[in-house]
């Protein structure tokens, strides 16, 4: 079972590494980090550098695709090599997935048209402009298309997917292995429950704000 995690300049590291840490533990999983060109790919802070061991062209038939989000998503919205690869790979995948604004890339490639999907809370409106039906849930399944909300939600998405692939016991063992018994210090991880002034300040600063999406 080949799992291709797509990297591009200025991706968000946890979007990719959260699902990686879970899915790499599914029996039979072979994960490959792939980018348009193989080599070092820098995250949004240009501080963390992950190695893409393969070019997308070298991974034509993955069983699972994971597309992370991040500020660099903005530069991946035009038709081109990544979209071509996503559409071709999607014809053979068992699961096509995204985390955070990765769903905007899937949408721009035409893969979410008419499908229920989610994204980072600031990007949900924008997701609707790319043909998807935006849903404010943490993990959204629509057939084989699985989208997760912002950044850390990729862990929940991957555990849910691990259960679909390998069963409840395997997913529970993975969860216990990574000791995923979250105890956030605040109930501030959702715009509905975070202090309103903090959420509003983030909306005002958001690159999606001008589009009225959040």
């Amino acid at each position: 079972m080949q799992i291709a995690i797509v990297l591009y300049d200025r991706f968000t590291a946890l979007d990719a590494v959260g699902p990686y840490q879970v899915l790499s533990n599914v029996p039979g999983a072979e994960v490959v980090f792939a980018a348009e060109r193989a080599g070092r790919v820098s995250d949004e802070e240009r501080c963390l550098h992950l190695s893409a061991e393969a070019a997308l062209a070298d991974v034509p038939r993955p069983d699972i695709v994971v597309v992370p989000g991040g500020p660099g998503q903005h530069d991946q919205m035009d038709d081109g090599a990544l979209h071509d690869w996503l559409r071709a790979a999607d014809r053979g995948t068992a699961w096509t997935t995204s985390v955070c604004t990765g769903s905007l890339i899937l949408g721009a490639a035409g893969l979410l048209t008419g499908r229920r999907a989610t994204s980072h809370w600031l990007a949900l409106g924008e997701l609707g402009r790319h043909g998807a039906v935006p849903v404010a849930e943490r993990v959204v399944f629509d057939g084989k298309y699985v989208t997760a909300a912002g950044v850390s939600s990729g862990i929940d998405m991957a555990l849910t997917l691990a259960a679909r692939i390998a069963g409840d016991e395997t997913a529970q063992a993975i969860q216990l292995g990574i000791e995923y018994d979250p105890q956030p210090p605040y109930d501030a991880g959702s715009p509905d429950r975070a202090p309103a002034e903090i959420a509003n300040a983030m909306r005002a600063r958001s690159r999606f704000h001008a589009a009225g999406s959040a």
Copy 2:
């Protein structure tokens, strides 16, 4: 505020990247991934490769040290360059921290003697053999020494630390930014609440089992 995240062969990726995603958003943070030698460092699966931009020797005075865990921890327990660096760096840090079995390395370097500390649930007993007072909590503060339980707990640790450094509002904004509103599919992330047969099977397979630590 310089934050040194220590890498070594066969570290666990999420141990490093969870805290990174949080702490890199603290105002004034400058994160550097550092290893005994600069260059590419491979994770436990030898599938994910992160770039250590600096050698430890090039980062003599970090304000914060983060030591991840992972299967490779076992090879970092002897006195040597990493322990020397940890002891020297610790003399100047504001915070010395670890995730998962990273606390065993801090302990072996002599930095947790008599201190309350935690580790991956399978390694708590082993932690006691390195001079610490093991505590089965998710995040443990003892003065400037901050240790987190297994893998995913580094996110909770880093958010708690972000609040100490920069205040509640900043930490809440970071939590909302990474949409950390966890919804695990099972209540299986703790050995007390996971199915007993799953926890027992993991104990039996654990590399700490022979030492009777879990």
